[in-house]
C-alpha cells in the first residue's frame, strides 16, 4: 500500500472501516422501536449503497476530472446487467464470469459510444450521450428483444444450459454465488434489542467498492489523472502542449463505462434479472445527481452522494399518509391535515419530485456538493474557534479532494 500518500491512505482506510462495519453503523436503532424505520442495515439496501457507490465513483472519473457531462451512463449499467444475466444463464451461477463479461461488454460498448460522442465537446457531447442512452433503451426495450427479452426483462429459467454447473434437479431456480458462497446468505447477530445482518452479497459488493475506490485514488494521483484535470480547465493549452485530448477523454469514458458495467453486473449478481428501465434517462440523471450531490471531482463525494440518495430514497418511499399523520398527530386537526396534504406530494411515490427539487437546489446553492458544504462548515467553525485572527483569504488553497 505504499502506492498511496498518507492522507489518501487515511481516506481509504476510513472508507474500508465504514464498509466493513456498515451492518453495525447503519443499524443504530433497536428493532421494533419507533426509530427503527430509519435503520438502513438491510442487506439489499447496503448492497445498493455499494453498487451505486461504484457507479458514482466511475462517473466521477469522467465528469469530475474531465468535465465531460455524460447523460448516458445508465446504458452501460444496463449492458452490464444483461451481460451478467446471460452468463448466469449460459455458463454458471458463479458471479465471477458474469462480472468479467459485464465489464468487458460495457467497456466495448462505451468505446463505441465514446468514439462517436467525443468527436464533440460541451453541450453537444451531453446531448449525444443522452441520445445514445435513449437509443440503447429503445434497443433493449423492443429492437433487440431476442437478446433482452424486451418489456419483461431477462430472467433465469429452469432449462437454461449453465454448462459449468451440474444438472439442476431441485426444481427451483438456482441462486448466484461465489465458489459455493450464496449471495443471499445472511448471518444475523442479535445483541439485546438490536439485530445486525451480515450478508455475503453485501460484503462482495463492498469488496468491489473498495477495489474501485482504490483504483480511483490511483487514477486521481496519476499523470493520466493530471491530464484529465488539465482537459477540464483548458483544452486549448493542453493541445498546444503537445497532448492529444481525444484519447485521454476516450480512455476516461471507457474506464467510467467499465465501472458502470461492473455496477450493473453486481446488480444482476444480487438479483439475477435485467430490465430495460435500468437504462432510461432518469437513471442516468440519478447517477449525475449522486455525483454532484456528493461533490464533483472529489474522491469521497460520489460515494457519499450515492449513499445519501439511496438512503433517502428508501426512507422517503416508505413514508405514506398514515405515517405522516402519526408524526403530526400532536397538532390541531386542521393544521395536521394541511401539513400532511402538502408533504404527501414529496414522499412515497412523490420521491421523484423531491429528487428533482434537490437536484435544482444543489446546482443553484451548492455546486460543490456535500463536500463543499462540509468544508464551508469546518471553515466557519475554525474561524469562530480562532477568533477574528483567521482572516487571511485562502484563495490559493487547493480544492478539496
Amino acid at each position: 500500500m505504499n502506492t498511496l500518500s498518507k492522507s489518501d491512505k487515511m481516506t481509504f482506510f476510513i472508507v474500508a472501516a465504514i464498509s466493513l462495519l456498515a451492518p453495525f453503523i447503519l443499524n443504530p436503532f433497536p428493532e421494533g422501536s419507533a426509530m427503527a424505520q430509519f435503520n438502513a442495515g438491510y442487506p439489499d439496501l447496503m448492497q445498493r449503497f455499494a453498487i451505486f457507490g461504484i457507479l458514482a465513483i466511475g462517473f466521477n472519473i469522467l465528469f469530475g476530472l474531465t468535465g465531460y457531462l455524460s447523460f448516458g451512463h445508465a446504458a452501460f449499467l444496463g449492458v452490464g446487467s444483461y451481460s451478467a444475466v446471460w452468463m448466469f444463464k449460459l455458463l454458471s451461477m458463479n458471479i465471477i464470469p458474469g462480472l468479467i463479461l459485464a465489464v468487458i461488454i460495457a467497456g466495448l460498448f462505451s468505446l463505441l459510444i465514446g468514439f462517436v460522442s467525443l468527436r464533440r465537446s460541451g453541450i453537444y457531447f451531453s446531448i449525444l450521450t443522452l441520445a445514445f442512452a435513449q437509443m440503447s433503451f429503445s434497443l433493449a426495450y423492443s429492437v433487440l428483444t431476442p437478446i433482452t427479452n424486451g418489456e419483461t426483462g431477462l430472467q433465469l429459467t429452469l432449462d437454461d444450459p449453465r454448462i459449468l454447473d451440474g444438472a439442476n434437479t431441485t426444481g427451483n431456480l438456482p441462486v448466484t454465488g461465489l465458489f459455493g458462497l450464496e449471495m443471499r446468505d445472511t448471518f444475523s447477530l442479535d445483541i439485546g434489542a438490536w439485530a445486525f445482518q451480515f450478508n455475503i452479497g453485501y460484503y462482495v459488493c463492498a469488496a468491489f467498492l473498495l477495489l474501485s475506490f482504490y483504483i480511483s485514488i490511483r487514477i486521481f494521483r496519476s499523470p493520466f489523472g493530471l491530464m484529465l484535470r488539465a482537459i477540464k480547465t483548458n483544452q486549448t493549452r493542453l493541445n498546444y502542449t503537445g497532448l492529444n485530448s481525444r484519447p485521454y477523454t476516450l480512455a476516461a469514458f471507457v474506464i467510467s463505462g467499465m465501472y458502470a458495467g461492473l455496477a450493473g453486473g453486481l446488480m444482476a449478481s444480487m438479483d439475477p434479472l435485467a430490465g430495460a428501465e435500468r437504462m432510461q434517462w432518469t437513471a442516468s440523471g440519478e447517477i449525475v445527481l449522486m455525483t454532484i450531490l456528493g461533490g464533483t471531482g472529489t474522491l469521497l463525494g460520489p460515494v457519499l452522494g450515492a449513499g445519501f440518495i439511496k438512503y433517502f430514497e428508501n426512507i422517503f418511499s416508505k413514508i405514506n399518509d398514515t405515517v405522516l399523520h402519526t408524526w403530526f398527530s400532536f397538532m390541531p386537526d386542521g393544521l395536521e391535515n394541511a401539513i400532511v396534504w402538502v408533504l404527501h406530494f414529496f414522499v412515497g411515490k412523490g420521491w421523484h419530485l423531491t429528487l428533482g427539487l434537490l437536484f435544482m437546489m444543489i446546482v443553484i446553492f451548492l455546486p460543490g456538493g456535500l463536500m463543499e458544504g462540509a468544508e464551508r462548515i469546518i471553515k466557519r467553525f475554525r474561524a469562530k474557534k480562532g477568533g477574528d485572527s483567521d482572516t487571511t483569504p485562502d484563495t490559493a488553497t487547493k480544492p478539496a479532494e
Partner: protein, 348 residues
Amino acid sequence: MDAILLQILNGLDKGSAYALIALGLTLIFGTLGVVNFAHGALFMLGSFCAVTLSKILVISKVTIDPEKVDFLGNPLKVKTPYVMEWFGESAGSTIIDWSVPLAILFAIPVMLLVGYIMERGLIKHFYKRPHADQILVTFGLAIVIQEIVKAAFGANPIPTPAPDVFRGSYDFGVLIGMEANAVIYPFWRLIYFGFSATIIAAVFAFLQFTTFGMVVRAGMADRETVGLLGINIDKRFTFMFGIAAAVAGLAGVMYTPINSPNYHMGMDFLVLSFVVVVVGGMGSLPGAVLAGFLLGILESFASMNEVKGFFEALYLPSIDQIIIYLVAIIVLLTRPRGLMGRAGVMED
C-alpha cells in the same frame, strides 16, 4: 407512389412537433446561449393546458330534476355544464367540443407567463455559469414540472379529442387525381401541419421583418456587440424566451388529439428534438425546421410494414424506434456541423 405520399403525410405531424420544439430550443440557445432541458416539459405543459381547459369547460352545475327519479327511486341529479347554462345548450356544447382549438387562446398567456417566470426566476442566474450547470438545473426543473403534472393529473394518458367536424379522414388522393381511397389522411393531422407551418412562418417573419427580430438575429450572431450598442438586449431575450415557450406550448396544445397527453411525453419529445437540433446544425433555425420534418418523415417510412419486415429479417424488429438515432450518428460522423450548422457555433 401513393404509399410514399401517405408516409410523407404521416411523417408531417410528428415532424411538425419536432420542428416546433427544435425551433424553440434553437431560439433559446441562439439568443441566450442556454441549452434548455426543460423545453420538452414546456411542450407537455401546453398539452396539459388543453386538458385543463377541457376539464374546466365541463365543470357542471348539479341540479335535481324533481320529475325524474333513478332506478333506486332517488331524485335524479342532472349535471349541466356552466357554459351550456350561460351560452345556451347548442352554443355551450360547441364550445366544449372545440376545447382543443380554444385552448390556444388559453395557452398563449399561460405559456408566456411560464416562460417569463422561468427566465427571470431561474435561467437568468445561469447565463454566466458553465454549460454543465445550465443543463443540470434545467434537467432538474424538467423533473419537477413533470412530477407536479403527474401528481395533479395522474400517470395515465388523458384522451382529449379534436372537434367533431375534424374527427374524420379526408381522401387526399382524389384531390391530386389518384384513385379513391388511395391516400386517406385524418383531418386533424392536416390541420396540425398547417398550424405548425403557420407558426414557423410567423416566427421567421417576425425575426425577418421587425426591428425586434433584427436585434434578436444580431444578438444571435454576436451578443456582445449588440450589448455595446446600448440596446437592452436582456429584456428582449426574456421576451424571446417567452415566445419560445409559447411556441412549444402551442405545439403541445394542438398535438393532444393526435397523442393523448401524459406526464412523460415532454422528455420523449425533448430527446428526439435535441437530435433534430444536432442534425439540423446547432444554432441554425432553418436547419432545425428542415431536420424536424426530415426526421419525422424518415421515422414514418421506417414504420412501414415493408421496411420493418426487411429489418425484421435481419433480426431487428421495430427499427422505427431507433432510426432517428442511427441517421443522426451517420450525419454527425460525415457532417459534424449538421446539415446547416455554421462554423464556430459550439465548437471548442
